[in-house]
């Protein structure tokens, strides 16, 4: 499978699903813009295995999110390669705000999908029917909610592709029996003031970029 790697990617969007795939014995190509290292949100430097222009298609395309999606939303050359890799894949998937990249590439037109909770209003502006689910499958397109939701989505996807036994073995290998110490994993369970502040911050930073991206799609 192909996973996109770009600067300021939210590391766990990428590494959570990759660990599930690795536990299920599936190899993950890391597709950078070039072969230069990508630097994650936490400042880590990871080396791509393939460069975007020459990356071969694979059965699964995974688009992670993070602050690094912002410049991609109006980058026609990049979005063209996303469309190419999506057209050659059986499954097109995203984690977190990676769904905004799929939407900007025109790959979520009229579909049901999800994204990081703070970017739900932005994904709706692309004409996407945004659901408040942990992950959403619409045909061969599967999108996960924020960051950690990619682990849940990928376990379900592995079960679909390789069977429940393989997915169950991967889950046991990862000892994925989560016990979050607090109940603050969703905006519905969190302090409304904190939620409002984050939504306003995301709108201020990313809203104008989404408007430009949706105008390009209409134009």
């Amino acid at each position: 499978m192909n996973a996109l790697l770009f600067d300021h990617v939210t590391q766990l969007d990428l590494t959570g699903p990759a660990e599930v795939f690795a536990s299920a014995g599936m190899a993950v190509n890391l597709v950078g813009r070039t072969l230069a290292s990508g630097v994650t949100d936490g400042g880590w430097s990871i080396n791509p295995s393939h460069a975007l222009e020459s990356a071969p298609c694979a059965d699964i395309l995974l688009v992670p999110g993070g602050g690094g999606v912002d410049p991609l939303l109006t980058d026609e050359a990049y979005l063209g390669h996303v469309r190419r890799l999506a057209a050659g894949a059986t499954w097109v998937t995203s984690v977190c705000t990676g769904s905004l990249v799929l939407a900007a590439a025109g790959l979520l037109d009229g579909r049901r999908a999800t994204t990081h909770w703070a970017s739900r209003p932005l994904l709706e502006r692309f004409g996407v029917q945004v659901l408040r689910e942990r992950w959403v499958r619409d045909g061969q397109v599967v999108t996960a909610a924020g960051v950690s939701a990619g682990i849940d989505m990928t376990l379900a996807l592995v079960a679909e592709i390789a069977g429940t036994q393989v997915a169950a073995a991967a889950q046991l290998e990862m000892e994925y029996d989560p016990h979050p110490p607090f109940r603050h994993g969703s905006p519905e369970e969190s302090d409304p003031e904190v939620v409002r502040a984050v939504l306003a911050q995301v709108e201020a930073r990313r809203g104008p970029l989404v408007d430009r991206a949706t105008q390009r799609l209409k134009g």
Copy 2:
């Protein structure tokens, strides 16, 4: 904080906690044996920020696990640096079979701790009181169960260090509201035949190494 990076590390042992720290605004040094790239269980190449010999101490030491711990268990030079970094840290932590490295370095003597479920019998041979918990705190030493348990442990640790508000904001940022699609995250919930097979496999591969490591500690 310092996180150890070695070949055949289980990637999520390292990247799960790192994402929690990043979401809480805390920087994570990646300490390799040298500055050469480390290759994870899934074949990814990640670049260390520091080499072991010259890595400065930090407030937290995190030791991840994976197949790559095996050669470290009897590597006195490596274990000496682990002891040095632990002595200079306020918190000594491990995820998954990283606890075996702490034990081989003599850092878990007489303590309560945990590890990946399939290595519980091995950790007991070091004289550690092994608990079947998601994570265990004994004084300033905090150990997590397998792979994904590092996320739960790190959220609790961030709350201890920086306060519940910071941990809650990190959890919301990561949308950590897990919904595993299957109930196979612990050996108690899994097929007993699969569990027995994995335990036998781990004993065959790692048991003799643990025996050598415990003999070194006694000698």
